[in-house]
Symmetry: C2
Subunit: 199 residues, 2 copies
């Protein structure tokens, strides 16, 4: 079934604007699957790398099963969770699939797939998704735990991101992106400011 039928607010984002989904520095969820496993983890250390072709970096510790899956499958998604998902984000960030095979169910993660990308599981209820193909770089992966992906498709929920811009300031606080500090502590994104604002 097409995602557009089940989730009518999810709209494709042009690849050259995909960087705008994470340039403001939110903590993201990283999801991936191989033939045996599906995992989702939290990552505060994710970043845009290139406008076009759109690329991203994400730091994946060797202790995570998600990393192992991505090394095998070559695909992953970064997605921007919302304040409403805070407890789920913290839960998937603090449980390993190695130790907790029922991690996703216990964390309350619900998955779906975008049409044509059924090999990349994504998390329901986020505000934006970047579907990525791993650019294998053994040195970066081994030495720095640094993974580089080319963005092959991007989507956002048009209630909070549309026409290339976030609208966090027009929707309820539940939609705000969350920005990790340490432990269980985060900040939400705040108010829009522009260099053209009168001071």
């Amino acid at each position: 079934m097409s995602h557009t039928f089940k989730f009518p607010h999810l709209k494709a984002v042009p690849l050259e604007k995909a960087y705008r989904l994470i340039t403001h520095g939110p903590t993201v969820l990283v999801s991936a699957q191989d033939q045996q496993h599906t995992d989702v983890m939290a990552a505060a250390w994710a970043c845009a790398l290139e406008f076009q072709p759109a690329k991203v970096t994400v730091v994946l510790d060797k202790s995570t099963k998600t990393r192992d899956i991505i090394e095998r499958s070559g695909f992953f998604a970064l997605q921007v969770p919302t304040r409403k998902q805070l407890k789920m984000v913290h839960a998937v960030g603090n449980m390993s699939l190695y130790a907790a095979p029922e991690k996703l169910r216990q964390s309350g993660v619900e998955l779906f797939q975008f049409e044509s990308y059924d090999h990349i599981p994504v998390v329901q209820g986020c505000s934006a998704w970047l579907l990525c193909k791993l650019i294998p770089e053994p040195h970066n992966q081994q030495q720095h735990d640094l993974f580089i992906g080319e963005v092959i498709a991007a989507y956002a929920d048009d209630r909070v991101f549309r026409d290339g811009h976030w609208y966090f300031h027009e929707v309820s606080d539940d939609w705000k992106s969350i920005h990790h500090v340490a432990g269980g502590h985060f900040y939400t994104i705040g108010e829009p400011v522009s260099v053209n604002d009168k001071v």
Copy 2:
């Protein structure tokens, strides 16, 4: 003159907690100097890479003079500007020292140095500073414009960061970190949320 005399609120941050200064994803300023030039630029694509030894990544376009200086000097600082500095951040992010030799003066940047680090210029009025030694990686630099630094010293203004935690919610909005989206548009950091909060 010691910075502690002129700026009594600036306190050293233990290196193992330096990541907390940027894990929430702020737009940063990048500063560096060589024997001829001093430059400061804005970078939204900066990220923590490792806890200990503390490391960071930052994407530096080939068009920037700051990048050229860092390749020559081997040192740079990342610093977290405040909402009060928004226009300055946007100015240094949109002028190149190549085209505008008076860029820093025109942007209103005021520099200082931390004691023992007089080869790394830093910007007054920010909330936190990470002094870095470049880890030269020709492939990452050439192929991805990606620069990796080891954090050799870190400082923060104790009015907004102390004991390993940000206090954005206890100080005026002027102190808030800014998070770039596109063009002249940013969001400030918002409110603290914790997994232990009652919903």
